[in-house]
Symmetry: none
Subunit: 206 residues, 4 copies
Amino acid sequence: MLTATDLPDLTRLDPDTRVRIDNTVLEIFSAREFHRIGLIEIARGANVSLQTIYKYYGSKEALLFSGLDFWLGQLALEMLPHLGSSGDTKVKLRGMFDSVLGFFERNPKVMPMIMNALYLNTWKQNKAYRYPDIFDPLARLLSEGRSAGLLRTDVSEGILLDYLQGILFRLVQSYVDKGTQESLTAQSDALFDMLWRAVAAPNTTS
Amino acid sequence: MLTATDLPDLTRLDPDTRVRIDNTVLEIFSAREFHRIGLIEIARGANVSLQTIYKYYGSKEALLFSGLDFWLGQLALEMLPHLGSSGDTKVKLRGMFDSVLGFFERNPKVMPMIMNALYLNTWKQNKAYRYPDIFDPLARLLSEGRSAGLLRTDVSEGILLDYLQGILFRLVQSYVDKGTQESLTAQSDALFDMLWRAVAAPNTTS
Amino acid sequence: MLTATDLPDLTRLDPDTRVRIDNTVLEIFSAREFHRIGLIEIARGANVSLQTIYKYYGSKEALLFSGLDFWLGQLALEMLPHLGSSGDTKVKLRGMFDSVLGFFERNPKVMPMIMNALYLNTWKQNKAYRYPDIFDPLARLLSEGRSAGLLRTDVSEGILLDYLQGILFRLVQSYVDKGTQESLTAQSDALFDMLWRAVAAPNTTS
Amino acid sequence: MLTATDLPDLTRLDPDTRVRIDNTVLEIFSAREFHRIGLIEIARGANVSLQTIYKYYGSKEALLFSGLDFWLGQLALEMLPHLGSSGDTKVKLRGMFDSVLGFFERNPKVMPMIMNALYLNTWKQNKAYRYPDIFDPLARLLSEGRSAGLLRTDVSEGILLDYLQGILFRLVQSYVDKGTQESLTAQSDALFDMLWRAVAAPNTTS
DNA sequence: GATGAATGAGATTTCATTCAT
DNA sequence: GATGAATGAAATCTCATTCAT
């Protein structure tokens, strides 16, 4: 039976080493399909032994999710302040929208890594991998917006989130896929307007 | 749709056998992660030998893409008539939208299979796997809609397609993920309205 | 649950390959301690893949015991005819004694390999590794000798066998250990006389 | 007996600790194959740290041999007095023979531990592990016996020792193997008689 | 068309041994 | 004295893929 103490927690890992691993994980898990990646590459890339990786992460999957955790944490850092800012739902949503696009433009490798994690996550039973740091505040924002009469209430909140997520995900995916040509942030006025029209309460004018 | 050169002529394969393979591929590639699927399972499931699979498909990837091809062909069969129907862009788009939601509601295993294919496709250089049967007519519809002043022109046509795709993809994904509870088609009025507001030319009222 | 059919029986293995493996097993399992031997060495030495070894033998232990089986089979081939020959117990025993010494002089690597197997066998619960091909006929000979009043009956038959085994084993071991200097067969008259005096019925004169 | 240079001075080790280690070594190295024993088990069993073991013993092998050293020292303590006693070669040999059987009957775990050490010793070049405390006096006894015309001279002294050793070793091994059923000491009259007949000068009557 | 065998690669685990604290 | 972390090596297993029959 596993108890928390059985899991060598990551805080015991040397911080420098951890940074090296996080970077290598991004580098490699963004470059190739999960099943064509050997942990030995990661180990060598991060200059640690295979066993160190197994000791602290336990498995290839866990290593990927841990790396994802780190990078989504970075995203959260940039994105969450906008959700807590002053201003109405639209302003907050716009701030979030822009920061997400900006983040992925500046970190184009994160999306391919997410593709690898998404792939695994599709069949995970214990959706422990839900990143509430990002999705909970987002859900709260949508909830507020609906209470304030600014967002649609003819569909469930989950559907609103799906539109948000689906659009952002596909935009970024396309962007990365095309070799990052035309900037997304540069046209974010129009892009956000499209999103806003989708989720705003139908009578909302502005 | 796969290029002819990629495959050793599937037409030579016994049609019955092929059907069995297509079904097994859907069954298994929707059930588990690509890398946790053994080709023997497929072979046994379809009652063919491993070598038959290799002879006609060439690789695990090609097998998946071929299966996907079949199922997207089924989708195209249901969806394309709506694009060619009489009526304006909105009507056509709505028809397509509904038929897509309906298709995935009736074939819930196709989306997980797509997740497996999407995963592989992320890093494919030769994007031979683009399914023009579906996307070309769609692009044409959007083009027409823009010419007719019905759809936005402040973003590229690709962006419009991305919104369409991103929303549909995420809706279906959520639907399948949640164990297919609340129907999508049942609320397609609102769902399509949201999409339409996103892509319609801003001045469009109805 | 394993059934006999689950075990890829060795007869399905290509005879040439098997010979190469048997030879390599002797070569390597006689050269070093069991735990310092890597199966990869055996694989390379026999020019087969690691998986082939695992497929046919199942484990490092099984590989060793299988090799031992082969070499003890060779020993049995030389030794058993003497046990079945005409003549009294003493003549038969002498024939066996000499053929054993001769065998190990001609195949000095077999004893170190036996040391490795003996080591493992010490703790084996299922002493499946008992080589009845050799020990059963030997026991029968001792039994006959006792019935004929030629061998001691004041100790159990097992004890007689222990003296036989213990003496032969140590003689060969010493011989191999010392770098195979002074021949054993050359002095087998005296060596056998010592053994015979030990096991013969006390009143036996000759 | 190990050469001083092989060990980092065991005398500096706390005597209590050393006793605990010696006992644990016997316990564990008699229970399982050398390569399936983890040094942590020993460390935990003796309540010392892994590093203490490494500091004082240097390696897993050295630890085993050191433990063996201790237990063979115990054997020597019981056995040597008989060799130095008054009486002729036969009496002395008999005393030694009985004390050896007795020792292993009272300490049945020592033989399996010896099996582990023997295994390692087979390939050791520097046969530092020869235990002259036991073998030198024994050789001296045999030498005396030959000078006195009591022991065979038609084979080398080494051969005599081999018979002695081979017989004792196999008797004890069998005894331990069979779960220590029928006592050896109880039948030592016959057992020794067999040995004596083997090694005694052929003309010796009694 | 198919069947059986072989291979290379990589996941995962366990451990002796070494280092730094 | 001891404790914790890191490493290299090897056992074992599973698979995609290739070959020969």
